[in-house]
Structure formats: C-alpha cells, structure tokens
C-alpha cells in the first residue's frame, strides 16, 4: 500500500527554535511538490476554474429561459448544459474547493508541519486532474444529457449509445477516488499529527468540520464509485443490472436512483459541513469571543454528519416503502444545523455587548472598534452566509414534508439544492477564502471590492433561489428547456436570470480581486495575524514557511492565541492590535 511508505523511521530531532529546520519530507531539489499548502492551493485554483465553467453554462441556460419560447439553444443542448452544470458544480467545484481549503488550512490549524501522507496527497491531485479532464471531455465524445444524478433517463445500455456517458462515469469515479484519498489523508493527519496539548476536543471548528466531512465522504463517495462502476459494466460489457426488470433475467432500473442518492445525499451535506465549521471560526474570531458553547457546536456538526445518512430516500421519487422514515430523516438533520445557528447568534450577541478578545479585553463600547470587527470582509461573508442558509433550510423543510413528491420534480428541488448546498456552501467557501486566503498567500483581498462581491454573490443568490422557489410553487418542471408565454412563469424566470447574471458578475469581480491581490501583489500585506485570530494558524507567518511553524506557543485551551493575547499579565492594557505580529512578539517575553 502506498500508505505504508511514509512510516515512522525515527523520531525527528527537535528543531532548533531560532533556525528553520530543513524540510522534514523532501530533498531540497523539489521542495514544494508535496507541500500541503501548495497542493491545497492547486485544488482551490482548479475548483475555481471549474466554478467559472459551471456558472458560464448556467448563464447560457438562463439566457434560454429568460424569455418565453426562446431558442438560444435546442432541447438537446439544454439537457447537456444542465447535466454538465450540475456535474461540474458538485464534483469539480464544491468537492475540490473543500479538499483544497481543508488540506491547506487544517494542518496549520492543528500545528502540524505536513500531511500524514504527503505523496498520497500529491497523487490525489493528479487523479483529480485526470478525472476532471475526463468529465470535461465527456460531452465532446458524445451527448451527455442525463442530469447530474444520471437518472433522467438512466444511461443504461438500451438506446443510449456513445462514449460520453462512459467517459463521464470513469471521470467521476476518479474524482471520487481523489476525494476519498485526500479525506483519508486529512483524517489521519488530524488524528495523528496534532501539536502537543491540542487534544481532539480543542481543535478549531473548521478542522473539526473537515474531520466530520471527511468521515462522511469516506463512507459516501465509495457508494457512488460502486454505482458508477456497475453502470459502466452495464454499458460497456453488456450486463443488465440497471436495465430490464427482474423476472425477465434483467436487473432493476429503480435501483439506480437509490444507489446514487444513498451516496450523493450525505455527500451534499458533507460539502455543506465545512462551510458550517468555517463560519463558526470566522464568527467567533470577529465577535472576539469563543463560541457560546463550543461543545454543543462540535456535537451539532458531528450530528449533521451522522444524520446526513438518514434522509437519502427523500430524494428518490419512486420509493414507496419506508417513506415516512426518510421524511423524518430529512427533517432531523436540520435540527443540529438550527442549534448551530442559535450558537452563532449567541456568540454574535456576546461579541456586540461584552468584552472582546480582538481588542484584548476592552468592552465593546468603542463604535469604531465594533465597526472594524463586524465590518471586516470575512465577517461580512460569514454574516451573508446566514440568510442563504436559512432560505435553504426553509426549502428543505417543505420538500421533506411534501407528500405529492412534486417538490422533487419541479423547480422547488432546484431551489432547495441551490440554496442549501450550492448557494450556502459556495458562500461559505468564499468566506473561508477571504479569511484564510491571506494566511495561505500573504495578501489581503480588497475590502472595497469585497463588499461589492458580497452584495453581488449573496444578493444574486437570494434573488435566484427565491425566483426558483416561486417557480416551484408554480410547478414549473425542473428540466424544462423552454416555456410558453401562457404558462405564467415568465416573471419568476426573469428574476432567476437576473439573479444568475448578478452572481456571474460578482464571481468575475471576486476572481479578478483574487488574482490582483494574490498574484499581482496589490493587496495589503497580511502579517501573521490579520484578524486577531484564535487558533494556531495565526501563530506563523503569512504565507507560512515550508515547515509551517518555527515554534509553537504552549497550548492549554482550544484558543491558544487568545490565551497568548489576553492571558499574560500586563499586556492587556497595551494589547496587540489586530495587525500586530504575534509570533515575533510572544517568544521574547
């Protein structure tokens, strides 16, 4: 096994505090090839490219659906568009963006110098790249028009020839494999490589959420891989597991959606869970508080992970037996999310009223200081995350309870998925980028552009999702390629299109901002601790050195940097401001 090759040979000699130790992993000649920050950043960059592709596809779709009886694209092209849009958004954007952010940030948060299996991490990137290329190549080989769930219709062998679906199945399997490998790596890193004193209960919320998300993905994605594999066998080797009906020596087409959603439903939740963790960290940091109840927040995120497996049947339209059970399953997973939101609100209230840590114990009476904390760009993203999440949760309640099942075949489902999983998860990822991007790449993003991006992305998403909910109420079928002017769905479709266009513009500005600030170096230098952070990643330079830390502070709680800032007698009055370099200061005293 590739995993065994990075075994413990002997304990590393303690690194001298003042001289940066040599790379513990690699020969000097190829220093960054297995660096988790480098590979993680590549994952993020790739995912953003796929996000652009996915959004461009959606804009073409919206151009088709803006006016009645439009003929921008034909029916067949439209079906290809939504298939590739969904596939790219989920498997090639949302999945790798968390793989990238997780593997770049988590080792820093837990005070590790590397991943547990650095070479496996590098390999996963190449596997992902190969899989992504195959997915992108699929529609060029032949038509791929089955929806991202590959279930409308199921591309089993009869009447659906062509290499496109084959390529798609293989590509998605590779993408899932890459994700499983990264997540195994990340989970082992969190379990084995935490800094001394950082118990599992003390790891930052984002690391905890990646641990939970990793556990879910390790169990959910292989089910998808098995399903893709069997469908491939059907198509390629003439088997009939998903075609024909049992009794005629054939298989069962009804099996496909069950298998797919058994894997895909927890996967969607697992792609929202890191957003919950990131927002927890960001809100607590800028509120200048610990989370109101850290234990409950950890329990809530863990519960979302466990319960995400309970509701898969609610997405399967032809499942009659045990439907009540799945309704309960789809509802009960929302409870811990609600509890987490309550936790956040309590933290925010405490941060508005009481003393805070960013200003080192001063009461929050200074309005300028308050504005500086609550108006910081990552905080605004985290706050903007809340309404989108709330809208998605509301939609989920209705679609779980809907007895006619039409909320799963009309635009209500589109709205629910775009609100909860794609909208909220994406805005959470952007919040994480604006919070940890400066740590990883050394420059802050533009504050002025940040507010514009926020307005466009959050506002556009809300507009789009609300419009989709209205279309759901009007029972507009989800894969319709066109509508007639007599259908009465024109205004809502126009709203969705306008919202999508605004999202597209916001995304464009965000990417330009990222390139200008990080690549062009136009952003303000981040410094070690630009936000008054609470956890270990802020105890090193931005960007961190190859080995991450020259020295670690002593860890006695879940917020070691907070302890540094407020715990020392005599420093509270002359507290370091948010832009002070804590690393350079702390070892000296």
């Amino acid at each position: 096994m590739a995993m065994t090759d990075t075994e413990v040979e002997e304990a590393a000699p303690p690194a001298p505090v003042d001289a940066p130790p040599a790379s513990p992993v690699l020969p000097e000649a190829w220093p960054r090839g297995t660096d988790h920050k480098f590979i993680g950043s590549l994952f993020v960059i790739l995912s953003l490219l796929f996000l652009v592709a996915g959004v461009v596809l959606s804009l073409v779709m919206r151009a088709q659906l803006t006016t009645a009886d439009a003929s921008v694209v034909g029916e067949r092209t439209y079906r290809q568009l939504f298939t590739m849009h969904g596939t790219m958004s989920v498997f090639l954007f949302l999945l790798p963006v968390w793989l990238g952010l997780g593997s770049a940030v988590v080792p820093l948060q837990i005070g590790a110098s590397r991943m547990a299996f650095p070479r496996l991490h590098a390999m996963a990137l190449w596997v992902f790249l190969a899989g992504g290329a195959m997915v992108v190549g699929a529609p060029m080989a032949s038509d791929v028009f089955h929806g991202w769930a590959l279930g409308d219709p199921i591309p089993e062998k009869l009447g659906l020839p062509g290499r496109g679906p084959d390529l798609l199945l293989l590509g998605l399997s590779l993408v899932c494999l890459a994700a499983v490998l990264v997540m195994i790596n990340l989970v082992v890193t969190i379990v084995q490589l935490r800094a001394p004193g950082l118990t599992l209960r003390r790891i930052p919320m984002f690391s905890w959420s990646m641990l939970v998300s990793g556990a879910v993905l390790i169990l959910a994605l292989p089910v998808l891989m098995g399903a893709f594999g069997m469908l491939f066998v059907d198509r390629h080797y003439g088997a009939s597991l998903f075609s024909g009906f049992t009794g005629s020596r054939g298989g069962n087409p009804l099996l496909w959606p069950r298998l797919f959603w058994f894997g895909a439903y927890p996967m969607l939740w697992a792609l929202l869970i890191p957003a919950l963790g990131a927002v927890s960290d960001i809100l607590a940091t800028f509120a200048g508080r610990r989370l109101a109840s850290r234990e409950r927040a950890m329990a809530a995120i863990g519960a979302v992970g466990v319960l995400s497996f309970a509701g898969w049947g609610s997405e399967v339209t032809n499942l009659v037996s045990a439907r009540a059970l799945f309704v309960v399953g789809a509802l009960v997973v929302l409870v811990p999310v609600a509890s987490l939101i309550l936790n956040w609100l309590l933290t925010l209230r405490a941060g508005l009223r009481g003393p805070n840590a960013v200003d080192a114990g001063k009461e929050s009476t200074d309005r300028d200081a308050l504005r500086r904390r609550f108006g910081a760009t990552p905080m605004l993203w985290a706050l903007g995350f809340l309404p989108v999440l709330a809208l998605g949760l509301a939609g989920s309640v209705v679609s779980a309870l809907d007895a006619t099942r039409s909320a799963h075949t009309n635009y209500w489902q589109v709205a629910q998925q775009h609100g909860l999983f794609f909208g909220a998860a994406t805005i959470g990822a952007v919040a994480a980028l604006s919070f940890w991007g400066p740590k990883l790449w050394g420059y802050r993003l533009s504050d002025a552009l940040g507010k514009l991006e926020l307005l466009a992305l959050v506002g556009g998403t809300l507009l789009t999702v609300l419009g989709m909910f209205v279309l759901g109420i009007q029972d507009f079928a989800r894969h319709s390629a066109t509508f007639s002017s007599s259908d009465n769905v024109g205004p809502a479709n126009l709203v969705v299109s306008v919202g999508a266009a605004i999202v597209g513009l916001g995304l464009l500005v965000l990417l330009l901002d990222l390139v200008a600030s990080q690549v062009g170096g136009r952003g303000a230098r981040a410094g070690a601790d630009p936000w008054g952070g609470q956890s270990l990643e802020w105890a090193t330079t931005s960007p961190p050195p190859l080995h991450n830390f020259d020295a670690l502070p002593e860890i006695r709680s879940d917020t070691p940097l907070l302890d540094l800032r407020i715990g020392r007698p005599g420093t509270a009055a002359a507290a370091p401001g948010p832009d002070t370099d804590l690393v350079n200061e702390s070892p000296a005293s």
């Binding site: 096994m1 065994t4 075994e7 413990v8 040979e9 590393a12 505090v17 195994i184 082992v188 379990v191 084995q192 490589l193 001394p196 004193g197 950082l198 209960r201 390790i218 169990l219 994605l221 292989p222 089910v223 891989m225 098995g226 399903a227 069997m230 080797y237 003439g238 597991l241 049992t246 009794g247 020596r249 298989g251 069962n252 099996l255 298998l259 058994f262 610990r290 009481g354 003393p355 805070n356 114990g361 009461e363 080995h547 830390f549 020295a551 670690l552 502070p553 002593e554 006695r556 709680s557 879940d558 302890d563 407020i566 715990g567 020392r568 509270a572 009055a573 702390s586 070892p587 005293s589």
Partner: protein, 221 residues
Amino acid sequence: MAMVAVPATADNLPVVPAAGVAPVVLPTGAPVPGPPGRPRRGTGTIGTLLFCAADFMVLAAIVATYLSIKSGSAAWPPKGVHVGTYIPTIVSITVAMSGFAMQWAVFAARRNDGRNAAVALGLTIFLGVAVLNLEWLAFVRAGFGFKAHTYATLFYLLIGYHVFHLLVAMAVVLVMALRTLAGHFTTDRHDPLRAAAVFWQYTNLVWFVSATALFILSRHG
C-alpha cells in the same frame, strides 16, 4: 497527547474575561520546539484502516444491488444454475488459513524473529496463489457467461472484486517479505507490516462477504 496540565476552568470558559479580572493566567514561557515533523507510530495502519472502510462501501454497494435484485426475482439463482458448495468451502478454508499465516508474520516480527516472519509471509503468498487458482476454477466451472443473467454478472463482479484485492494484497505482502529479508522490521519498527496485515485481513473479509451473498443468501426463503 495531553502533556500540559489544564486548569479546570480553561476548557469551559464561556467568554473571554475582561482585562484585569482574568481568572486564568496562562504562562507562555518558552515556546515548545516546532511541531512533530513525522507522524506518530501507527499512522500507516490507521490510514489503511480508513482506506478499507472506504473500500468496503464499494463492496456494500455491489452487495446491496445483489440483494435488491434477488428480492425481486422469481427464481434465484436462475433456473439451471448450480454453483455448488465445494469450491467456496475450500476457498473459505484457504482464506482463513492465509489470515492465520499473515498474523503469524506480524507476531514473529514483533518478537524480532525475521526468519519466521519471512516464512509466514511466504506461506501467506502461497495460500493466496491457491485461492486465486480455486477462484479461476470457479470461473471455468460456472457454466455461464458474464452477461447471461444478473446473477452471473454479480457472481463475476463479486468474485472478481476479491481477485483484484487479492492481487494487490499479494503484491504488498511480497514487498513486505522482501523487506523482512532485508531486515527492515524489528520489535519496535514494523508498522508497514501491520498495515499490510490489516489490508490482507480486509481482503479476506471481502471474500467472506461476497461468498455469504453468492452462496449462502442465494436461495429464497
């Protein structure tokens, strides 16, 4: 890992205390030297265990498909299909023996007994070859092709899944045998061998799950 004594209040402190009234004064002292550069012991084993958990879910998807199609079929396996019990029984016994041989290698390595470990690993590979041989015989004697019916497809898929794992596991064990002969493993340092053993036993589990589905749960009622 909790090396530092924790004040009772540090973990349950709900808010950051105001200046001057801080109940906890955490001495910073000299910073501890950098973070651990290399993983702790057992890292490869944990990684392999997680990989096996993921891999098992692929198998679970196939077995779920098998059980679902079976429950909807009038006759299962289809009429005229007789898979017998002789080959699966012999394979099961051989697989169980290989499991013991693999653990023997781990025990020997733990006792710093390289010679016994190498012999045990050789025996493990030999038993693996025997299992491959038997499974090939099962394919030859099956009397149906891959796409004859869904039972046939799943028969080849499930046994093929085990064959694939066995090939990988045998390659891993071969590397371990060579490393044992090269003297890489001692009482304190044989984590790769333990990880290989985890994967070998998991491969055996794949057989037992597949065989249970194909040969024991293959009848209605």
